[in-house]
């Protein structure tokens, strides 16, 4: 087996608990704005649930690339309207702060330690739909020890577009077979494999995008499989 030098990680769902983190911040936001009757979990699901459709417009080139921060804000406003709230009636700074919840997503309990162990033997880098600044802020906030951070705005493309994986390999100076994608999502691993990368599946309960719930398939056929990033570090020893 060709020696793997670089581990790329899906971030949203695989390294951080996006839905749980967003529900926590949404709960506080809804309370401050007299909207405690709205369930924060349902609100987070509705907001995150709009993610795939908005990114899809860029994927199929109906829309030129815009960073995830902007898509998230558009989706937040649509989501608020869906729950009967009027975005323009809320303080702009409050909306912007809630949108920055994506910069403060909490890591799963094993993520920092697992990444630290893996960093001793591999280059570790996110391969995420997040823009670079979002991922940099998240790393500083959560203590994620990345070797470098290349957001979707570097390749100006969203997963599973092949240029995302291929440009990341080019910048890290490896042929695809010397890189591996670590992810909790099949569609991402499938795209990485088509580009020639190796694949490792990490089991994350509750990491599914609710808009894709119907697409969950059995997780097999990947080079490696682990229940979390600490176990992955053991498996790759």
């Amino acid at each position: 087996m060709t020696k793997v030098e670089v581990l790329f990680f899906d971030v949203l769902g695989t390294v951080v608990d996006w839905r749980g983190s967003i529900a926590t911040e949404a709960r506080s936001f809804l309370k401050r704005h007299d909207a405690s009757h709205i369930d924060a979990g349902a609100f987070a699901d509705a907001w995150v649930g709009r993610y795939d459709e908005s990114v899809e417009a860029v994927r199929c080139e109906q829309r030129s690339f815009v960073p995830l921060d902007l898509l998230n804000m558009e989706n937040l406003e649509a989501c608020l309207k869906g729950f009967g709230l009027t975005p323009s009636a809320l303080p702009r700074a409050e909306l912007e702060n809630l949108n920055l919840a994506w910069h403060r997503l909490k890591p799963w309990p094993d993520s920092v330690e697992g990444l630290s162990r893996l960093k001793a033997r591999f280059i570790v880098a996110p391969l995420s739909d997040g823009n670079t600044r979002l991922l940099v802020n998240m790393a500083k906030h959560a203590g994620l020890p990345w070797d470098t951070i290349l957001g979707a705005d570097v390749s100006r493309a969203y997963k599973p577009m092949p240029q995302v994986y291929l440009r990341a390999c080019e910048l890290l100076g490896v042929t695809p077979d010397r890189a591996m994608l670590v992810a909790a999502h099949d569609y991402d691993l499938e795209a990485a494999r088509r580009c020639g990368l190796k694949t490792a599946y990490v089991v994350r309960e509750n990491a599914q995008d609710p808009s894709k719930a119907a697409n969950v398939r059995p997780h097999d056929g990947w080079e490696y499989m682990a229940s979390d990033l600490i176990e992955l570090a053991e498996v790759l020893k």
Copy 2:
């Protein structure tokens, strides 16, 4: 003064001692290949001295972008010939290893501590002619605690081309006046200023590219000035 969020650093000469590090590795290489009669310091000067001319071809679009690793190898071969050695007569793996001396450049004594202090209050990132993998390897080798690493291959341009500075600001999500370049070279600071970035000059003896020795001018007019990165962290408190 607008709040600065991001500190970009010139690396070669400002954060690491390129000429000293290369001389050390060249000395060992020349000894192994029965060429101890060649002065390692002069060899390093000759190799580094070809840097500016080779990058200039990309700057003025006589040549399309190629990463620094490739330019360094071309310059190494030319430099060996200049000293009467025949590159093709030397083991290829040895040449490649010597070229990777650029991935192992040693930081100045204050660099790791200074960057660590600055990282607590700013996003810290290199802004270097080095390619991303070169800078990632250097950071892992030397323990440089960058928040992210965006090499010249991200913008596919070399300093002082304006797109280098502007693309870096765009990816870090700041307008240029919220970023500052820290460098030991005037031409770099001048270009950053023209793009709207703030500037900090760090005094580094022996950091001049020998090919530019005639261009050294008085260092004044920059927003900040410090004798090393630890002092800079104090100045920016």
